[in-house]
Subunit: 336 residues, 2 copies
């Protein structure tokens, strides 16, 4: 399957195919210097598979986790390219999850003011979500994605076979973003979650999610309007992420919890059933007070109105402006 | 005077006017958080003049010199904005020379993946040259501009009155880039240098240089073709810069020397007369051997062909591919 992403600054394809890693050289010009960025949590055979197809490959393995999304690791990657004589004709390939894609993408965007970037996401979360959209970034301290660039890859290669090495919990964690896409845009995809096995249908799940996200990004590359709908479930999801001890709940799990209060009762019932089927959480175990106190530290909630996405019927959404108080009152009903 | 720069990603104006600093608020929306970046070599009344027109201004003064174009100063600027709650609706204003513009521009390009950037260049060099083109960057170690972005300002404000505080040598240093523009594109501008006083005609010199550079950038935003002509005089100019002790010769002075061998004999005679009039160097005091040895360390000259811009007649140029040997032989005739 190929999904084309057409943007004013150029177009590129997202190719979704089992066994694609082995054929990367047919899509990417690897006859040059190639910096392959991966992390210590990604099976090393994936980056080696790509390296074997390059004329001159350099594999940089950063430590797994958010801490690698820092300006110091970014500087290390740029310094490495400089040291090895990378020119504007050479390229960067990310092999891994969202951390690797964000970090390597920002290095590619900035080195010599931009060299070719290719993304090979190897987790469900990065395949259905972060691989599309051209958002690259690193963190500053604890604040995520504060320094970065909108920089589109030349191509995205998705090989669903790489998901075989993923734990069941990580698999479901990534699916939460696909559930989000289905809730707001694609009832047929939602029915796949309801009626069939996600493992068996993972190619279709990825393809439909990527198509939806590509369509949104095409209409709003720089995140000024429509793209806000991609934040469905994320407003409270982020608050849950900050209220929790780091890593107790994964990102997708927090998004799952964050979506529940934003659905109509009918949609919520079907959503809860799907989340349970996917072993995603449906009940927040912390207190609403703790959650609201965490949210209050977020600048999004400082006094003014908050843009909230709600789902009246599955496959559709509404954008509303709520006051912080309204949002917090609403939340209290759901999280005891 | 207004010069429009029309690029696929959007358009902006360069306004050239005496006393413009005082009227910045009429062009720039300063009714928001504004980070004013300047350096210790720039008279502080310039940044204060802008700050006085802002609703909420923060002045960051970095140390004068190339050392401030580093990822650590870049990180400091981004961290400062984060700490003071800058959002995507706030902006960065550079007040100073090329170092400040490059650094502040990259911070604006990267903070939250891009916020509004305004450039107020206050030196001849930055007014005629680096304020146009959207090149932003910092250095990595001794290698200049290796990490950055193509990021266009929302507006450029040029106030020729700011040049009154510039030393005569810095004034002439900047004019070297304007002489370069005239040699390759604009014989009438060259005649201004020949026939009249540069101080008296500085507004016209800036305007004509900016128009020329804007036209080149419009045709080649990302530096893939035509924009190479802007490197006229820079190939050997950079070699002279590296062969010299740091700071013995200024950038424009090296470019002046670098242009001489690349002109036809007729053009060269007129160029030499203009350079002398402007107190720019016409004779390189180092040895050709030292120069060539410095150039040999530059990757541009590693074995292959070099793209060389020559001026057959004033106001025109040719792009040629020379071998490194040819270039070095040619240089020897000029630099004893």
């Amino acid at each position: 399957m190929k999904v084309a992403v057409n943007l004013p600054i150029g177009s590129y394809d997202i190719t979704i195919e089992r066994g694609l890693l082995k054929k990367a050289g047919a899509i990417i010009n690897l006859d040059r210097r190639v910096l392959i960025v991966t992390d210590s949590g990604v099976p090393e055979e994936y980056s080696k598979e790509i390296a074997a197809q390059c004329r001159e490959a350099f594999i940089e393995t950063v430590p797994m986790g958010e801490e690698s999304k820092s300006l110091s690791v970014f500087e290390k990657l740029c310094g490495f390219m400089l040291e090895h004589g990378f020119t504007r004709s050479d390229c960067v390939v990310a092999v891994g999850g969202g951390v690797v894609g964000d970090l390597a993408g920002f290095a590619a965007a900035s080195y010599m003011r931009g060299i070719d970037f290719y993304n090979i996401p190897t987790t469900v979360l990065s395949q259905v979500d972060s691989s599309v959209g051209g958002k690259t970034a690193v963190n500053l301290g604890k604040i995520k994605n504060i320094v970065g660039a909108f920089y589109q890859p030349k191509a995205v290669l998705i090989d669903p076979d790489t998901l075989k090495t993923l734990s069941e919990r990580h698999f479901s964690n990534g699916l939460a973003e696909a559930v989000k896409m289905s809730l707001t845009f694609d009832e047929e995809l939602f029915e796949i979650f309801e009626k069939s096995d996600s493992h068996e249908n993972i190619e279709e799940i990825i393809t439909r999610s990527v198509k939806t996200k590509a369509a949104v990004v095409e209409q709003d590359e720089k995140e000024s309007g429509l793209r806000k709908v991609l934040n469905f479930g994320h407003t409270m999801g982020h608050a849950i992420e900050s209220a929790e001890e780091l890593g107790v709940l994964y990102h997708g799990e927090c998004v799952a919890l964050g979506m529940i209060p934003m659905c109509s009762p009918e949609a919520r019932e079907r959503l809860t059933a799907v989340l349970k089927k996917l072993n995603l959480p449906t009940e927040y175990r912390g207190s609403a007070e703790k959650l609201i106190s965490a949210a209050a530290h977020d600048k999004k909630f400082s006094g003014k109105k908050v843009t909230v996405i709600t789902v009246p019927e599955i496959g559709s959404f509404k954008t509303e402006e709520w006051s912080t108080e309204e949002l917090f009152e609403h939340i209290k009903e759901f999280f005891a």
